[in-house]
């Protein structure tokens, strides 16, 4: 998922009687599916965990611009280039909605970005894989955004109001991402044999990393119980993974592509696909910073931050100068911005 291994500071879920009185009141609000808003009382661990989760989600969107950005200048048609530009711009927007949601918990966006650049903050493992061909842009839209939607739709109902509201906006836009990806794959699969082979190669490389986006299996996911109790995670990693596989396999069949899993088989009794062994060693290697592109991704983000410094400084200088000139944009003419009662 766009968030993986989020630490809740709880080794195990405490029973109701182990909670303090304010914690019990808080839990009762969550159990009644009430939304928690920024000014409300909340346990410190809930607040800190949400900051970790939302900022990790934001960082994923932020770094997530890079793999696809790699192909903007080489898109095969003007239409595809416009679509890809719009998608990558959306990812930047999603990061901004999420950083704003995190800020309502009392942390500054700049602090979060510094943590990312210092290598102390996580982002999704998926963005540490390279985009080697144009078909990768299709595979990412179809599978990576598809996996993201699967997790984000339930999060529209999560307990923290600003996070849930950001998710509503994001989900509306994410659906475009997934469809443009599948549409790109369709075009390749209906094209020349070489194009179809390119699509198959992309599926071969992206399938397992996409399946691993949902995070480790439930038995190695010690924070799931607490996150579920807090209603900041609504389904377990394995539940979402199974749903993703069940939905994606028929989509691959339609494309005429083969999912790279020899053990993949429809199970009539369970009503789900059985699948093979997931390469978890690879997942943990990538999460711990040693994937194919980890260093490159962070270097690119740091360079962009430093390269944009003069723009931020110029904007600040301009604001100071104009404020001095006319005191305050708003104070001079209340109606001038089209503001009317």
């Amino acid at each position: 998922m766009y968030t993986q291994l989020v630490d809740t500071e709880a080794k195990r879920l405490r029973s109701r009687s182990e909670l303090s009185e304010p914690e019990q009141l808080f839990q009762a609000r969550l159990d009644a599916e009430q939304k928690i808003e920024p000014g409300d009382d909340m346990p410190e661990a809930y607040r800190r965990t949400l900051i970790r989760q939302i900022s990790q989600h934001a960082h994923s969107e932020w770094v997530g611009m890079l793999p696809e950005g790699n192909w903007i200048t080489r898109a095969p048609t003007l239409a595809r280039k416009c679509i890809l530009l719009a998608k990558v711009q959306d990812e930047g927007g999603h990061a901004l909605y999420l950083y704003a949601a995190a800020e309502t918990l009392g942390v500054a966006r700049e602090t979060l970005i510094e943590e990312l650049h210092a290598g102390n903050a996580k982002y999704s493992s998926i963005f540490n894989y390279p985009t080697l061909t144009w078909a990768d842009v299709g595979a990412i839209g179809w599978l990576v955004d598809g996996a993201a939607i699967m997790n984000q739709i339930p999060l529209c109902r999560c307990s923290y109001g600003p996070y849930a509201r950001a998710m509503v906006r994001i989900c509306k836009e994410e659906s475009f991402h997934q469809r443009q990806g599948y549409d790109l794959m369709l075009a390749l699969c209906r094209g020349a044999p070489e194009q179809k082979q390119m699509a198959q190669d992309a599926l071969d490389r992206w399938w397992w990393p996409a399946v691993m986006m949902f995070g480790p299996p439930d038995e190695s996911s010690p924070h799931t119980a607490q996150s579920k109790a807090w209603r900041i995670k609504l389904y377990t990693n394995d539940e979402l993974r199974q749903k993703f596989i069940d939905q994606s396999v028929p989509q691959a069949d339609y494309l005429g592509l083969k999912v790279p899993d020899a053990a993949l088989k429809w199970n009539e009794a369970s009503g789900h696909y059985d699948f093979g062994t997931i390469p978890w060693d690879e997942f943990f290697r990538v999460v711990q910073g040693d994937g194919p592109c980890n260093r490159d991704r962070l270097d690119t983000r740091r360079e962009a931050w430093e390269g944009g410094r003069w723009v931020r400084e110029a904007a600040t200088a301009h604001a100071v100068k104009t404020a001095a000139r006319r005191r305050d944009t708003h104070a001079t003419a209340p109606g001038s911005n089209g503001v009317s009662p």
């Binding site: 000014g39 927007g93 901004l96 800020e103 966006r109 600040t316 104009t322 944009t329 911005n337």
Partner: protein, 93 residues
């Protein structure tokens, strides 16, 4: 960037409804806040007008006052038209 104030963004959709809060952003001044709001919150024709307001200029009711402020209205069901059953024979009411 920490020096940049936080702005709350309100958008009026095409349908003549009131401006609605959509989110927030950082910008050095009101003009940049409007430009950024346009890029961040109206990429799909969501709006026909944008307001930006410094977050610090918004005075909000406190969550602690929720009970005192809002519970008195809950019991006043007669404020809703559906409180008054109308005979089926009577039209246009």
């Amino acid at each position: 960037m920490n020096d940049w104030p936080l702005w709350e963004v309100f958008i009026r959709s095409q349908h003549g409804l009131a401006h609605k809060h959509v989110g927030s952003l950082h910008a050095p001044d009101g003009e940049m806040a409007l430009r950024n709001a346009r890029d961040i919150y109206t990429r799909r024709g969501e709006g026909s007008s944008i307001w930006v307001v410094r977050s610090t200029d918004i005075l909000a009711s406190s969550p602690d006052e929720k009970e005192a402020l809002f519970s008195p209205s809950i019991s006043k069901v007669y404020r809703h038209p559906t409180f008054f059953p109308m005979p089926d024979e009577v039209k246009h009411l």
